[in-house]
Symmetry: D2
Subunit: 351 residues, 4 copies
Amino acid sequence: MGSEKIKVGVLGATGSVGQKFIELLVDHPWFEIAELGASERSAGKKYVDATNWIMKSPLHNNVADMIVKACVPNFESKLIFSGLDSSVAEEIETDFANAGYFVISNSRNHRFDKDVPLMIPEVNADHLKLIESQPYKGGIVTNPNCSTIGMVLALKPLHDAFKIKKINVVTMQALSGGGYPGVPSMDILDNVIPFIDGEEEKMETEPRKILGKLGAGEILFDNDIQISAQCNRVAVIDGHLETIQVEFESKPSKDEIIDAWINFKGEPQKLNLPFAPKNPVHYFAEPNLPQPKLQRDLENGMAASVGRLREDALFHYKFIVLSHNTIRGAAGGTILNAELLKAKGYLDNIV
Amino acid sequence: MGSEKIKVGVLGATGSVGQKFIELLVDHPWFEIAELGASERSAGKKYVDATNWIMKSPLHNNVADMIVKACVPNFESKLIFSGLDSSVAEEIETDFANAGYFVISNSRNHRFDKDVPLMIPEVNADHLKLIESQPYKGGIVTNPNCSTIGMVLALKPLHDAFKIKKINVVTMQALSGGGYPGVPSMDILDNVIPFIDGEEEKMETEPRKILGKLGAGEILFDNDIQISAQCNRVAVIDGHLETIQVEFESKPSKDEIIDAWINFKGEPQKLNLPFAPKNPVHYFAEPNLPQPKLQRDLENGMAASVGRLREDALFHYKFIVLSHNTIRGAAGGTILNAELLKAKGYLDNIV
Amino acid sequence: MGSEKIKVGVLGATGSVGQKFIELLVDHPWFEIAELGASERSAGKKYVDATNWIMKSPLHNNVADMIVKACVPNFESKLIFSGLDSSVAEEIETDFANAGYFVISNSRNHRFDKDVPLMIPEVNADHLKLIESQPYKGGIVTNPNCSTIGMVLALKPLHDAFKIKKINVVTMQALSGGGYPGVPSMDILDNVIPFIDGEEEKMETEPRKILGKLGAGEILFDNDIQISAQCNRVAVIDGHLETIQVEFESKPSKDEIIDAWINFKGEPQKLNLPFAPKNPVHYFAEPNLPQPKLQRDLENGMAASVGRLREDALFHYKFIVLSHNTIRGAAGGTILNAELLKAKGYLDNIV
Amino acid sequence: MGSEKIKVGVLGATGSVGQKFIELLVDHPWFEIAELGASERSAGKKYVDATNWIMKSPLHNNVADMIVKACVPNFESKLIFSGLDSSVAEEIETDFANAGYFVISNSRNHRFDKDVPLMIPEVNADHLKLIESQPYKGGIVTNPNCSTIGMVLALKPLHDAFKIKKINVVTMQALSGGGYPGVPSMDILDNVIPFIDGEEEKMETEPRKILGKLGAGEILFDNDIQISAQCNRVAVIDGHLETIQVEFESKPSKDEIIDAWINFKGEPQKLNLPFAPKNPVHYFAEPNLPQPKLQRDLENGMAASVGRLREDALFHYKFIVLSHNTIRGAAGGTILNAELLKAKGYLDNIV
């Protein structure tokens, strides 16, 4: 790295994902927030006046005073983080990419575009090459849904070693996954909401692309894996907990599974990316761990935690996975994608 | 019925199940609380002084002033409700049964005794006959674990019509299932605890006895059914919510399943027992129902609610079940057992 | 009463107060829901399609199928319950009153109109006469803010007997007081919000009108009472809890205060109004009662509960008050106002 | 400081306060955990086996393997942190002090001993001299109750500048203040408990000693201040929020009060003690701040936050205070006391 940081823009800056980008990027060693984009209603205002800041860390003064721009591709920063709402993300992200920007997006709109990588850097760093097939002057990289990311992180080393055939997952998802204002308090206090619109479909399809193989200008989906997902909202602020059952091509031992988790390292660990957790997956032997409140912040919220591994009557094994949905599962994961892009040289001529 | 009510005793009267018995029995048309038993520490005291009343309904004056007895078989009441802790239930319940009492128990100790029925009156009313094989002068009847009851209520009509081969269940269980004081608030606020000691084992074994056939002096377990259970504690006061996946001998249509639920009636409905819900199972077509806070009190907490029925990638169908764990799943279910006992004539000579 | 019920309309029928009116009126002995009014967006639709029903009781079929009307004074029902949002209530309620309707409102807009009674029937039933001074062909009656009602119910018997000079109140208010969707879950789980916009001002002014004397066409405010209020939102579904300190003209004994509470009866009790609690105020001697979860539903949510009475270092006494904010403090209180109107003969010629 | 750290012992090491000591001391620049004491039941076991570790940070390996000792004064460490339960603290702390140990205690037992300082280092650092009047070979220093500390931190600069005559406080206190297991979840979810045993008495008496003057071998209590406290438990994990009303000898302006808070520095700030917050009191101008979830961790949980300052109808001013009850209000405050002891030279000959 030269001494100069890469200037970045954040689209959807006033939303909860946008705010998380800002909170997490504030001291980033490679990137520097230079521009903020939001809706027409916010454009022209100081960020501090346009936003209802709901992050725990105080809003940094530099950012507070920035004048919010409209989301049109006249930004100076060539690297763009998008936390745009899916109702507008499709067109705006395409516009920016066409105009030469690299859009690293947390929105779902482009996830299944043939030539757009759906990235978890520890899992499918090689998919990044797909960006070269894109028709854009710039490029688009997406990350998966928050509930998919933790699960696939935990499954990747097992899939590599023992080949997974079936995945059965039931989630207990945190409130922050619903954005802000999101779930009304009267609906969730003393309650569980057994439905999250569109969530089960995402969990049943995204893993097939993420775990697929890079072909010529597209991903060959791993359609051998059968997946069933059931998603629930619980009264937890942050941290998605998931019960998972898996069946493999051939059944490994418990120790082999634990070893696969403990020894798992991906490209971000090898490249020593700033946001990379030291270990992407942490295994807990205690009978009642991991728990959202206790493990969600592990490795600054970038690691997945697994535990309760045991043999199952209907599948080979069952276990639980926990990951921080707004860090690893959203803004933090997106930043890791951008770091990979930088480390792989794609941003060399935009500084 | 004659005009006189059957006098009943409650063992473990100061505990949370015991209190629920007292709350539910206060206006019972057939039974009348006459005696209360608790630990030596409480014996001799007025009930109101011996107990930390945590029920929502105010403690009835008649009961408040009763002098608590020790749990020894010198009660006048021949019908005994037991909410005893499992650490002491085994011996005390046996003593009472030997001494001629009919013990209707919510404790787990005798559930797997060869000659003790594990009863859900809508499901296996015929098992009650087993009581005649017991060596006791009186008898013992048990009910299943709270998380088992709701599930089996929902599965029974499907099993009868389409024969279930596999059951996969993940629970989100209420705090009241852990008794009182139970789960510390610091452990569960903003959290999920993915472990309930012994619970998964109960859910994986009890259904085989409940759904089994009455043989000669024993139940022939339904060991054809494969069951896997994963149990979690969530920040909900009352109402266990369970995600269920099932596979049948031959796959019915969605409508056939819904019809089976809607038309389900059991012995308590036919006998018009006082605590019997009009419909043991209520089907909801809304995509986000049932929910603990909204449906737990349906039919005074005695009905199970089902919803979100949909085809599944790994089993034939998936759906969710909700039932009130301390009413249908504990004290209310036990009272229904006693009502069946009475309706079947077993209590005729104890009045 | 004749055999025929009075037909009533509900304005703001799709909102949370409107829904509560519908839930509470469903079996009312005097009133019958005949018409529903809501915003232009809802008008013309079936109620069940226009509303997101969030009440615990299922929506009654009769009401579900009613076609929602716009809020213009072309209703057949002459008695109108208004749960309108304050942004539109002022004009609509005035229009209805001018057109001959009796508007019983839970909105704040007309509370301080010179000739509009701000009613708690146990406290100031005589203020109802004010309606005769109104310029309307019909009339308007309002009820106070939810946090005011419980407090004034508890203070009225003390004011009558010992004359209150100073009131100091700190509230811990329930989520349902904020309407729906109201407080976002991410803001209140594991938190307290020490601010409710406009609430403290209401608590510091409304009691002076409620406790004032009926003059000629206006209320002579009781401006001798000094009041300070501090309002907080806590993670409770229903039930406002308030710590109160009072100073009297001359200090009574503790027993005199308790006696005043226990013996308190108002006009609704004398008239035996259907929604009147048997006792408007219930006193608890236990050191830790009343609590929202345990006492909010007392007398169907229409009674206030008081407890923890003790001498104070800075005022004469301190104690706590609890009341159900959406029943006694809103829809239920409004219905009681309408019952008083009926009992006093004001509705005689509208049936 | 020399290069060597002072070895310290922790009494009551398995309790929640003891665990917090261990969590906070793990990287302390001056102190090093060398010995752990707990009940006879734990003595002889490895700490990791004797304790149910409930802190969020993982238990440090060095500490995990320590063998727990009985609480008898045979420790090598001369500096002792006591988180003992009040049922045993009185005698054990006296024994240690008699035997030459300096006991820095969070227990309430010795708080009102004539010659024991009740310390908040920013408030009454001069009281530490009292230790020289103690009959012990070593010494005892105590810190106030968790709900007192935040309040007095906020009041001290106002008392110095404008002399406080009356304090009226209502608290909304966090669950962690009740220790572990503490408040049962079934009691507090969807509820407020308006009673904390002994808490109001502590808040009404402790400030008089803390704000008193150092006399000859005793503190001359500030009995001119009149105090009334009302204490409530709310569903918040950490952070006590308090509404406060004050009356002064002469009423200052709002700006004068804010200036007093902003400029407040005490002895810990002047001495630059490791655990001292940069600013003991942080003022917030936003209408809805501070809030427990948002501000409790300010300055590592060692600062008090104030806000909502406004004129009051019954006192001069009202405002709110928030502080972290287990850090500033307990273990962290105790550590700051020990740091002051060290900085003032009292520990010079124990290294």
